[in-house]
């Protein structure tokens, strides 16, 4: 079936089977392999992308469901490698990854978390990562990265406020 999804701002139309999962649409049909397949059972969060600006697990959504919708993947965050998104930069600076497998999912869910709550406490950050598993870092550096990203993303708003 013909399926059109706007991915990272670009409308993409492919003819896919109805049973095609969004993760396979992104990775196999579009070649966007930044989004990873981990557990494949909606537990680990490695496949997290934004669907109409909300964090979702793309292994548990049909491409057909997303037809007509907007998807943002990790590839859609930075305009070029020299200008990373503040969350990406914070993961880099705070050593928020080791093997990197969970990282795209961690970053995508962080965007949803920080949109809801621009100043999360460490507890709130940990609660927000409930649906994402990391097997290397012990999470502490990921929490540090998200805290740092939150601080940096708040700075322009403060500057604009005049205080």
């Amino acid at each position: 079936m013909k399926t059109t999804v706007t991915v990272n701002g670009v409308p993409q139309t492919r003819d896919v089977e109805p049973r095609t999962l969004l993760i396979h649409f992104l990775r196999d049909a579009l070649g966007l392999t930044g989004t990873h397949i981990g557990c494949d059972t909606s537990n680990c969060g490695a496949c997290t992308v934004l669907w109409n600006r909300k964090a979702v697990k793309s292994c548990t959504i049909l491409a057909a469901q997303a037809d007509g919708g907007e998807i943002t993947t990790i590839e859609g965050l930075a305009p070029d490698p020299a200008h990373l998104h503040p969350v990406q930069q914070a993961f880099w600076d705070e050593h928020g990854l080791q093997c990197g497998f969970c990282t795209p999912g961690m970053i995508m869910v962080s965007l949803d978390l920080l949109k809801r709550n621009p100043s999360p406490t460490d507890d709130e950050i940990r609660h927000g990562l409930d649906g994402n598993l990391c097997r290397c870092t012990g999470y502490q550096h990921i929490v540090n990265a998200i805290r740092t990203a939150a601080q940096r993303m708040r700075v322009p708003a403060v500057a604009a406020g005049g205080d």
Partner: protein
């Protein structure tokens, strides 16, 4: 994991969804958020010939604060329930329950209608809607009917809804003055599903318990009310000793099942512990 092949059709409004369901019959399944159905299809535990996607049916969306009750559309996501002003003020038990479902990503997509229709014995909502004495509304080509929550959950993954019926919305009575609430669960450490989930509503009038409603999910094949605990509370002043003594009956009639991760004996014990804790919290909020 990839589901078995199926035909996909998208319904654009409720009458189209109803007629598609009537046309495709028993071989079709409705797809809302898909967060219960798609995992089963990926594991090939479900292999519907046709999926009718109702995710875009506007009539199934929305929350309305009516006289006497809150109307909650079937496509309301768990996340929407956690933040809706009417739900937070008039059915806070439901908001608290929704906040404990899955994780952010699951709550963004999963719907209350889908979860209720799926009737997973370890789902969170069944305990809450039983305690709230909510009504589930179903629509088919033959018309509309309302089913009380106590009659809706029939058995493991089985509800009173017929294969040609769509769950359109539920109605939850508005919270009476002096009613406290609590939903609390022991989640499975990997899946987050309730090994034992306790919903409690307590109404206090003149210092005494005027109405107590408790329900448990996760322990047995379906969620049930804890009528013995309720009876032990009604008319009493809700001090710690009364709560502790009533909670001792929380394992009565729950038909706890042995699982790989929790024996029936363990679940019976946890039911008593969580009944006590949930009651204490509900009483605190009622005061």
């Amino acid at each position: 994991m990839i589901p078995a092949a199926f035909e996909y059709v998208r319904a654009h409004n409720l009458s189209e969804a109803v007629s598609l369901l009537a046309h495709h019959g028993d071989n079709a399944k409705l797809l809302a958020g898909g967060h219960s159905l798609l995992p089963m299809m990926k594991m090939r535990l479900a292999q519907p010939a046709t999926l009718i996607d109702i995710g875009c049916v506007a009539e199934l969306r929305g929350i309305r604060d009516d006289i006497g009750s809150i109307m909650i559309g079937a496509l309301t996501t768990h996340d929407e329930l956690t933040a809706n002003a009417a739900v937070l003020s008039q059915a806070p038990l439901l908001a608290e329950t929704a906040s404990r479902v899955g994780d952010i990503q699951v709550r963004n997509v999963g719907t209350i209608g889908g979860s209720l229709a799926h009737a997973d014995p370890a789902a969170d909502y069944p305990a809450a809607v039983l305690a709230l004495e909510a009504t589930v509304h179903l629509r088919s080509a033959g018309g509309e009917r309302a089913v009380a929550a106590r009659d809706f959950f029939v058995d493991l993954m089985t509800t009173a809804a017929r294969p040609d019926e769509i769950l359109t919305h539920l109605r939850v009575p508005r919270r009476p003055p002096g009613q406290g609430w609590c939903y609390m669960k022991l989640p499975h450490p990997a899946s987050g599903y309730a090994m034992v989930g306790l919903a409690a509503l307590v109404t206090i009038e003149g210092g005494k318990c005027a109405d107590a409603r408790l329900a448990i999910t996760g322990a047995g094949p379906k969620a049930v009310r804890l009528t013995k605990v309720e009876a032990a509370l009604e008319g009493k002043a809700l001090d710690d000793a009364t709560i502790a003594s009533a909670a001792q009956q929380a394992a009565d009639g729950i038909d706890a099942t042995d699982e790989l991760y929790a024996s029936a004996t363990y679940k019976n014990h946890i039911a008593k512990v969580y009944a006590k804790r949930a009651l204490a919290k509900a009483v605190e909020r009622a005061r």
